[in-house]
Symmetry: C2
DNA sequence: CTGAAAGCGCTTACAG
DNA sequence: CTGAAAGCGCTTACAG
């Protein structure tokens, strides 16, 4: 017992303290069944006494397996991605894997971030959002590590993929308006249309075309319009088509804004006007009379990504390289 | 050139390919100025040619420094925490650190998660949310790694802390109602009162007491009431105090609900009635006439945590172990 | 500016 | 069931 700061005990220290060899200690942690119960107890007691915490960095180097999975997300402000990480992390932790997270807002920094991630020798990588630079893709391919892309329509791409078709989801909810008998339905989207937004818009348009209705009642709000975008869309589309009966929105925020505008105009929803959302954000349940919307399951996507990766890492093979995670339509009263 | 799968090139491979020693290669990456420009170019070209990515696991073990910071959050569903991670990650990446993330929903699993985290030899740890088990705290202390606790009132605790006083924030906004001359102000909170909610309520009550006003006009809504909670609070408190002039809410959702109820009753805001929120959620800007509320800055908290940690890791010392991240009051028209 | 050698703390066949 | 030894891919004094 000295007063000096002691360095953290190593496995060797523990072996000495317990009076066994290094490899017996190692086995106590990795292959407990291979060591006699009494010996194991002796070692574990000593471990608790000295406060031993295995150095997983050394373990990773020696074993060639880091038990880490890296995730690269463009942003955590997007609650879908946060939820995906939650589901991914939950599953990974349950399987004894750790999550190495990188947030690469700037696509230009993606490659350098990826290099750092890959250098940590993760057993697999989760990518979120669809677009990646040629360099990034080359880097990943060269690393020879299993990859799963999330939030993209599940089709074979880089390696594995999990998600659902945004096109289908938007078409499905738009068809609900058609089935209700509406003949004049508009689309409220955003100006800076990402691929993800565009797929939804096309789904909407497909539903209209399939029903023989016009599919050009589109309004694109400024990206940062928030709820106000819903009002703008309603204004603009009613001016374009005075008989407008319903609005399909790229997002619950726009839909809620449209609902507010209906209140302001004294239009009763859904009797006089129908609104469909997308996302099932908290507001969808809150805004009167309740927004009918598409609910996506980020946690399930994250979990599925984790399952695919762990299977591939541990068995080297995968049942199916693409997996569909169902979305659902939540019926409330706006439609 | 063979057709078999080649293993990833190591630094030794690269040294051979470039015709230099191992240590020259290492220096090219770590201490570029220590190697002649020509040699460096030769090495870098070879690195690009063979697709060399440094093994950071080996690097960490050899150097005793992992350039990783671990973060433990209770949940990513809380957008405050997600934003904090975003701010933390941004800063860390800019300093060449990686983020090791664990989501420990279940406090019982905290210790095992922490063990895994610590075993990866992070240079520092970020904790989110205030309560931790004795075992967890012992583990952290024993690891001798810098720690910063976030989203707690900044006072010396485990090691370092960054956040702001929820009490102060609630008191500040409540004082605004007092300064406006209101004499009858109520509080709308939630039943299942967390410590965080309780601190805000106490801040409100303090403001009332300081002004010599009654501080018992409290209503606690069911946890899942959503906007409806604001209506319930208004109903109940007006019944209790017919001269009620304003409402302070634990959350923007409640405040928005109260505002909706004012519309329904035909009360003009802020002339006849005032409402204060908390959180500056998106709805605060959108709900007419605009909600005056407290804005918290999760990204700034995350960034500050990163700054403190990196300073402590790299210099061994810190200017101040506690840091206050300002909240701000966003003035709109509800008060 | 460049290099040979020891070592970081584990794991992994291989013996006994 | 237990152990001695080599090795994982780097970094770090220390020489030259």
């Amino acid at each position: 017992m000295t007063a000096v700061t002691r360095r953290k005990p190593t496995m060797t220290d523990l072996a000495n303290a317990a009076g066994v060899s290094l490899m017996t200690v190692s086995n106590c942690f990795k292959q407990p069944h291979k060591v006699h119960a009494d010996t194991r107890k002796k070692v574990m007691d000593a471990a608790a006494a000295v406060g031993y915490v295995p150095n997983l960095i050394a373990s990773s180097l020696a074993s060639g397996s880091s038990r880490m999975v890296a995730a690269l997300v463009p942003s955590l402000r997007n609650s879908n991605f946060a939820t995906t990480l939650q589901g991914l992390g939950d599953y990974l932790h349950s399987r004894g894997y750790e999550l190495l997270l990188a947030v690469a807002e700037d696509p230009a920094r993606e490659e350098i971030v990826l290099r750092n991630l890959l250098g940590r020798q993760p057993g697999g990588i989760v990518l979120t959002g669809g677009e990646h630079s040629k360099e990034s893709i080359a880097l990943i391919r060269h690393a020879g590590v299993p990859v799963v892309e999330t939030w993209i329509a599940p089709k074979p791409g880089l390696d594995m993929a999990v998600g659902f078709s945004l096109f289908d989801a938007a078409r499905d909810i738009a068809q609900l308006l058609v089935k209700k008998g509406l003949r004049h339905v508009g689309w409220a989207g955003f100006e800076a249309t990402s691929d993800r937004h565009l797929q939804r818009q096309r789904g909407f348009q497909q539903a209209m075309k399939d029903a023989g209705l016009r599919s050009d009642l589109l309004f694109l709000a400024p990206e940062n319009a928030g709820f106000a975008g819903g009002r703008l869309a309603l204004d603009a589309l009613v001016r374009k088509e005075p008989k407008l009966q319903g609005l399909c929105c790229v997002t619950d925020v726009l839909a809620a804004g449209a609902l507010f505008e209906c209140m302001r105009r004294g239009w009763s929803v859904p009797e006089q006007f129908s609104v469909a959302g997308y996302g099932d954000f908290e507001i969808a349940a809150e805004v009167p009379p309740g927004l009918t919307t598409v609910k996506t399951n980020g946690a399930a996507i994250g979990r599925a990504a984790g399952e695919m990766l762990v299977q591939k890492i541990e068995t080297g093979r995968i049942d199916s390289p693409v997996r569909q995670v169902p979305y659902e339509i939540v019926f409330r009263h706006s439609l």
